[in-house]
């Protein structure tokens, strides 16, 4: 077996020397086997009965933690192999002549290495997806969100601001006349005496899967709370619907007499509205509420590809690839320069960071700048530092080792600088992208949708890395291959 591997290794070195130097022929098969093993571990999870989310998390995160050690080992070993067979001190190193081949190979290898811990989650997700009826769940979700408020209310009182809510006119409401604002304490589940309608506090705002459902970001399983007013008949219907749907998610209802439950709840809330929070008994009609909620959590996580299933989300990988881009950039630099110069550059990076922090600290302590201008100041500072670095790189009077250290440091700091500028853009626009948290604050969404915003950030990162390779590869060749000024 070993001999076979050696023969194959020799064959690769003769036919595809660059592949051999980059270690692709060894690492890709090993990493693929490793990834498939973890995928199989994920797939092996028993879901005959849909498990609650906490159990799913225990299993998934356990595997993730277990995969971190092999990931670290594989990453370190790949680094060492590249230093041994592909660094500047080795005669056949590739980065100067094949910068993009080297860099992209590093990105692929590091991507697979760093992705391994999440592969188990992908295996789990595939298995769960087969078991879960997504359409059914989406249909049930609206019913469950509406109906849930009739079967469980933990808090019996809510606060209503006098100015904004018409229901304050009810005579039996207490009005808080505190200087902070006129607040009204009301029951969270009560009948409106004037109209006979049910007023309840529940998840309403986006309690349904909205029209923009795209599978991973817009599904609002547990959305914001709000006051809702419905007729009693509507309430009864919601309860019926809930009783039908909930058992599919282990939400067995103890008592299925809708009218009886409804009356009980009204009385229950009225009785306990003045009770201290911790002393009030739950308003709960669900057999095993934790199991029910946790099962919904599992469904939600599977459909939104969240939590332990995040590995199945394309969006996650778009951001996560930045990790492998960073590692690849570092390895590319290590392979392109002398290790001693890289060491000096680390010192430059650390001192630069320290200088920026000290400058910020002094500004904060002595308040030299008007408030809210720190970002602008830092961007100017970073720009000045970049210009100084560039001048030092070109300075003929500087020792070449120092100039090399500044070059490497600049390549390392370049992505941070680009992001800082992107941050400035972000900061100058309150709502650069559309996101649920900004919904009420932003009237005009500028430039991007939420997804586009991150795609732009991701694109900037990829382009900055490739641009860095293009520019700095030339600089390193000039510094290390061209005749040097001794």
């Amino acid at each position: 077996m070993l001999q076979r591997f050696k023969n194959w290794d020799v064959r690769i070195s003769k036919s595809y020397p660059k592949i051999w130097i980059l270690g692709v022929h060894i690492y890709l098969p090993i990493l693929t086997i490793m990834a498939l093993t973890f995928y199989a571990f994920g797939w092996a999870y028993n879901i005959t009965n849909m498990p609650p989310m906490r159990e799913v998390n225990d299993y998934g995160y356990g595997l993730l933690q277990f995969a971190i050690l092999p990931m670290l080992l594989a990453g370190i070993m790949y680094f060492i192999r590249q230093i041994k067979f592909n660094s500047l001190r080795v005669h056949h190193h590739l980065p100067y002549k094949n910068p993009y081949l080297s860099f992209i190979t590093f990105v692929i290898v590091f991507f697979i290495i760093t992705a391994t811990p999440f592969i188990a989650g992908v295996g789990m997700h595939h298995k769960f997806s087969k078991q879960i009826d997504e359409r059914q769940f989406i249909e049930d979700l609206s019913i469950l969100n509406k109906g849930y408020s009739h079967f469980y209310q933990k808090e019996f009182t809510g606060v209503v601001y006098a100015a904004s809510v018409s229901m304050v006119s009810d005579s039996d409401l207490e009005v808080d006349q505190s200087p902070e604002g006129k607040q009204t304490i009301v029951e969270t589940y009560r009948l409106d005496k004037a109209t006979g309608n049910l007023i309840l506090y529940r998840e309403i705002a986006h309690s349904e899967v909205d029209g923009n459902y795209i599978g991973d970001t817009s599904l609002q399983c547990y959305a914001r709370y709000g006051w809702d007013t419905i007729s009693v008949a509507q309430a009864h219907q919601e309860m019926h619907d809930f009783i039908d749907a909930a058992p599919r998610y282990y939400g067995e209802i103890k008592d299925k007499d809708v009218q009886k439950i409804f009356k009980q709840h009204i009385l229950h809330v009225a009785k306990y509205r003045d009770t201290e929070y911790y002393n009030s008994p739950d308003f709960n009609q669900i057999g095993d509420r934790n199991r029910f909620e946790s099962t919904l959590g599992t469904y939600s996580a599977v459909i939104t590809k969240d939590d332990v299933f995040i590995g199945s989300s394309l969006g996650f990988w778009l951001y996560y690839i930045i990790f492998s881009l960073s590692l690849s950039t570092i390895l590319f630099i290590v392979c392109s320069v002398r290790i001693i110069d890289f060491g000096w550059s680390m010192l430059v990076v650390a001192l630069t960071g320290m200088f920026v922090m000290i400058a910020n600290g002094l500004l904060t302590v002595f308040r030299w700048l008007p408030s809210n201008t720190e970002i602008q100041f830092n961007l100017i500072l970073i720009t000045v530092l970049v210009v100084i670095f560039m001048l030092l790189i070109r300075a003929k009077w500087l020792r070449s080792s120092i100039s090399k250290a500044f070059t490497i440091a600049l390549q390392l700091l370049l992505p941070a600088t680009v992001f800082a500028y992107f941050g400035l853009f972000d900061n100058f626009h309150d709502c650069p992208y559309r996101g649920e948290n900004w919904a009420e604050q932003c009237k005009d969404f500028e430039y991007f949708t939420n997804t586009d915003y991150y795609l732009v950030a991701y694109g900037i990162c990829v382009l900055a890395s490739l641009f860095g390779i293009y520019v700095f590869n030339r600089i390193y060749i000039r510094q290390y291959v061209h005749p040097k000024q001794q």
Binding site: V10, S13, K14, K84, V90, H91, I477, V481, P483, Q486
Partner: protein, 302 residues
């Protein structure tokens, strides 16, 4: 003969030490070996570093007939320069593996690599060591393996800095004869320049010698042209002569005498045969003798 490398008005000054190397003109021809000699710290390594494109210097440089300037693609140019520095960087993996990779990168097809390597390793006498690692071979073999690796790339200019240092006398001679054979064997233009302290060994193979002293080239040309004057220089060591002052004797004979360590260096117009006969007639027992008339060694004591 094809001119592989040429430099004119080479000047390199080190600001800190104040040392300056200057070479008016140097030309390396295809098929020739050029030896660079001189005392330590006189600029040999600097000169070779400059020729190998490692160190920047002022002057007009021509590599393979093309002038090197700020637009030169040194990455490409250096593909044609095989430089072996004094300290050879270590290899990782087996020696054979490294040579295979180099051959494959040079575009030799997978089917031909073994054959090409066999030929090269046979030529350099390295066949039995090919499976070993860098740490398992001696300095001499490391040098030869490095030479083998460089030769796979078919360089047109070989720059070897002190290749004979740390080699025993047999290995030195083997290495130099390999070089000579290599030049005869190569079917493309190749020039070799090497520095060394082993004057006699270098001179035995060099077509051109460069003697550098304190950064200045004192001699640059064929060995045959060194003794243009009629004076000959001999280096010798005699057995002890009880009660006789050898130096006074040499003076009385009209020889110019210089004592270099245990040796006398005699400058005279007498030819070798007459000089040796004179010594013999005066019952002098010669322990060691060398004719330096056509050797750069004569410059060392000036």
């Amino acid at each position: 003969m094809t001119e592989i490398f040429k430099v004119e008005n080479l000047k390199k000054k080190f600001n800190r030490s104040g040392f300056q190397l200057s070479v008016d003109q140097l030309s390396l021809l295809a098929g020739s070996i050029t030896g660079v000699v001189g005392e330590n710290g006189n600029g040999k390594t600097t000169l070779l570093d400059i020729i190998a494109g490692e160190t920047k210097a002022n002057g007009q440089f021509h590599y393979f007939g093309i002038e090197a300037n700020s637009h030169t693609n040194w990455l490409e140019l250096k593909n044609n320069i095989g430089f072996i520095p004094q300290r050879i960087p270590r290899w990782y993996g087996t020696l054979e593996q490294n040579l295979v990779i180099k051959a494959a990168l040079e575009g030799i097809s997978a089917d031909n690599i073994d054959g090409e390597l066999d030929k090269l390793l046979d030529f350099l006498g390295l066949q039995e060591y090919r499976k070993l690692n860098w740490t398992e071979i001696s300095t001499g073999y490391r040098l030869r393996f490095e030479l083998a690796r460089i030769l796979i790339g078919n360089p047109r200019l070989l720059v070897l800095d002190e290749p004979l240092a740390n080699l025993d006398i047999n290995t030195q001679q083997k290495f130099l004869s390999d070089l000579k054979k290599l030049l005869a064997k190569k079917d493309y233009p190749l020039a070799v320049i090497l520095s060394s302290q082993q004057l006699h060994e270098i001179e035995s193979v060099a077509d051109q010698m460069l003697f550098i002293k304190k950064g200045e080239v004192l001699y640059n040309g064929n060995l045959a042209n060194i003794s243009l004057d009629e004076e000959h220089v001999y280096e010798l060591q005699l057995n002890d002569r009880d009660g006789h002052d050898t130096e006074t004797y040499f003076d009385s004979m009209g020889y110019k005498v210089c004592i270099v360590g245990p040796y006398y260096q005699i400058t005279t117009k007498q030819s070798v045969s007459i000089f040796l006969k004179t010594l013999s007639d005066n019952d002098m027992e010669i322990k060691y003798f060398r004719n330096l008339s056509n050797s750069t060694k004569r410059f060392f004591n000036n």
